[in-house]
Symmetry: C2
Subunit: 245 residues, 2 copies
DNA sequence: ACCATAGATTCCACTATGTGGAAGTGCAAC
DNA sequence: GTTGCACTTCCACATAGTGGAATCTATGGT
């Protein structure tokens, strides 16, 4: 197997086949829907037959699906089943859930729950306000550093994760990253774009998720402060019901 | 490799390692959170070292996570990233999204979007009403036949899928399955428990998702009819914006 | 404090199993 | 019809994954 140049140290006792399968899943997730075999093979550094076999195996498991017409590949429905099972058992979600409806109703905004996955923020729960325009960008996932929720989480994550986040965040990092990190990890709440976010901690001190609200375009500072207060209160109430790490 | 007895025909040109990795993911999804290696090995029919290597490889990719204390395994956060990417590109979700808020606001109920994954219904989008009690069972996934949305979809799926659904649905099938299937696949809408569901078709005739509403406990037939009408209207409006299968 | 047990992890020789080059097939465009 | 491109299948080779046995670690019992 040709190893990627500069890979630090191949972890011992690990299966190449699994690593390759996962690499393909990553490529399918990152690129656009329905990519073609040749492309995937090249980008993954695998030979075409190998990529084909791996994809075929993944298709059999519904983790990947293949368009019968173009025979191109994209992620398959099974990933959602796994995900829902994962999320259904995630303690933070259960802890936050009871607070979300009333939060939205009193604040009149859309509320999100986000977690950090590697160098991405994934919005894992949402509860929509009445007003909001017709465009709900549900199922969002972006570079951690491009949203307030992600920034709060990334800044509080381990050094290694933070570095990855900075590295994978394309552009917009004119400033000194470390200064931003310090600033963000101090802040009790953070605003970016139309989102205001706070962090949810578990019984230990470890941050486990971000709770955020969509703040309407022309909101004054006082309103932002009110929203932040409510979010923080819900976050710490939910956090108290959680165990350690 | 020891083959499971009675497996019809091992699909040719398929990787055993991937199949085994997927089997482990399935076991982790089905059973309860944090299962132990020995158990997983036995249930999967793999040797302990093999299961361990596979799990270790999956942990490296964050598809599985291992509790450092008990060293037990459960699904990892990466599955949510893949899932969100999948859902974010799913045409039906984009098509339905614009209608959901107004549907909820006029009907005053919680609205769900569900899809069929193998023999399970997975609720992939939701939009919560104001009233509903404190218990939002978000991230639901159950046997297809145990919810109205799942029944509508399963009844309209291929014969093979239908059989799987019947087989995997524990209990409650006192009646003749085929009669139920005929009944369910004829119905324009279906009620079960507190849920009323309709099917969303794409430009062809193929059913792609179910749209459902939570109907309040003491609702009369007229109200149910009103809800069904609104759901159907949204479903066909969204379906018209979709391409073929 | 000690041993006993159960479970996770590592080692190692064996060969089953995954690999990549090359040939085959199907489809679309010209 | 013919050319080109991309997906798929074939096959010999050796890489890379496998399982039994040994080792380590943690937990509970006496």
């Amino acid at each position: 197997m040709s190893d990627v140049r500069g890979e630090p140290t191949e972890v011992r006792g690990t299966l190449g086949t699994v690593r390759n399968a996962v690499r393909l899943l990553d490529l399918l997730a990152d690129g656009s829907a329905y990519q073609q075999l040749t492309d995937l093979a090249e980008r993954s550094g695998l030979s075409v037959p190998t990529a084909h076999r791996l994809l075929r195996s993944l298709v059999l498991a519904d983790l990947v699906e293949q368009d019968p017409r173009s025979s191109r590949y994209s992620l398959g429905p099974e990933v959602t089943r796994l995900s829902q099972r994962y999320l259904g058992r995630l303690p933070i979600l259960g802890a936050l859930s009871p607070y979300l409806v009333s939060l939205r109703d009193t604040l009149q905004t859309t509320i999100h729950v986000a977690v950090l996955v590697r160098e991405s923020v994934v919005y894992v729960d949402r509860i929509d306000a009445s007003d909001g325009g017709p465009y709900r960008d549900s199922h969002r996932v972006t570079d951690a550093l491009s949203t307030a929720a992600g920034r709060m989480l990334a800044a509080r994550a381990g050094d290694e994760v933070w570095k990855q986040c900075v590295a994978s965040h394309a552009g917009l990092v004119d400033e000194d990253p470390d200064r931003l990190r310090a600033e963000w990890s101090r802040a009790a709440h953070l605003t970016s774009g139309d989102e205001i976010a706070v962090v949810v901690h578990d019984a230990g001190e470890t941050p486990v998720a971000a709770l955020s609200a969509t703040v309407p375009p022309g909101a004054d500072a006082a309103r932002v402060e009110v929203i932040a207060t409510h979010l923080s209160r819900a976050a710490s109430a939910a956090g108290r019901t959680l165990g350690h790490g």
